[in-house]
Symmetry: C2
Subunit: 152 residues, 2 copies
DNA sequence: CTGACTGCAAAATGTTTGCAGATTC
DNA sequence: GAATCTGCAAACATTTTGCAGTCAG
């Protein structure tokens, strides 16, 4: 854990963020306990693990971490916001199972290319994009078991 | 206007919605005054035009109209929700200008096709999807004038 | 006439903010 | 020691809800 902690500290410093107990906790917790998570999940998890951080600090820190590229933020179509650690992971899109809430990732370079093309056609300079496919995952299609979403 | 009014009434009936003064007003106003709109814009516009409808009714009605396929609802990546009339218009995606808020539409069949392909690969049954490109529109790239968003 | 719809005001949700004191650099 | 954090509680924006009265079918 010491090693990892250090690396989190470094990552904060690299981005010009002050290193505080709270930020180390939030970043490491987000990276080690979650794949994708909602703000309230992080809040609850930190609390369960006995790490005291105020709601305000969590939100402020999440915003910083997103801004500095350590986390990504995504919005589901139902005004829910989730985050994911970046960790040098490639850009990717999401499929969200409407049945169990599971989130799958995928990349499709060709789609990216086509988007750029469309933008060029419209004189639009793309900065970022969101592609989400809502549907039913393999497991739910089979078992039909509406298992509880873990989002993690 | 009488003709249009009738058609709105019909459209409500067709979908099994009761026809009320408020619903007629909301649907016709949404269809005639807006391309894309936010709930609060509709609320304000109705008010400006002297149509009294309570906030609660507007929200409840928007939900009904979306459910019955007369409007579509979309979420921007910053937890803002906008609506658009359906009116038999084709499915399309959106480009959102982060500078002036303008919303452009586009379709790219090839992208749709590739999405289906990816889903098949993952055993995922697609139900719907969202593709939004955030960026800077032609006008803003030129003039740099951060004009006020009209969203209409 | 009954169930569905409406307005109102209050509640809920999820996130942000002002402030005073603590902390980092 | 200056600028930046933090916690707290209050504020916020948006949407939803309970309730009692009204209206469509």
């Amino acid at each position: 854990m010491g090693r990892l902690e250090e690396s989190y500290e470094e990552r904060l410093k690299e981005r010009g963020l002050r290193v505080t107990r709270e930020r180390r906790m939030i970043l490491s917790h987000a990276c080690e306990h979650f794949g994708h998570f909602y703000a309230h999940e992080l809040l609850e998890s930190l609390d369960r693990h006995g790490f005291r951080v105020s709601r305000a600090t969590v939100y402020r820190t999440l915003a910083h971490l997103v801004e500095k590229g350590l986390l990504r933020r995504h919005e589901l179509g139902d005004r829910k916001t989730f985050y994911e650690p970046v960790l040098g992971r490639e850009h990717h899109e999401h499929m969200v199972c409407v049945c169990c809430g599971k989130i799958l990732e995928f990349i499709q370079d060709e789609i990216e290319r086509l988007q750029d093309q469309v933008c060029r056609q419209h004189g639009f300079r793309p900065l970022s994009h969101t592609l989400q496919i809502q549907g039913i995952c393999r497991t739910c299609r089979r078992g039909g078991r509406g298992e509880i979403a873990s989002h993690g």
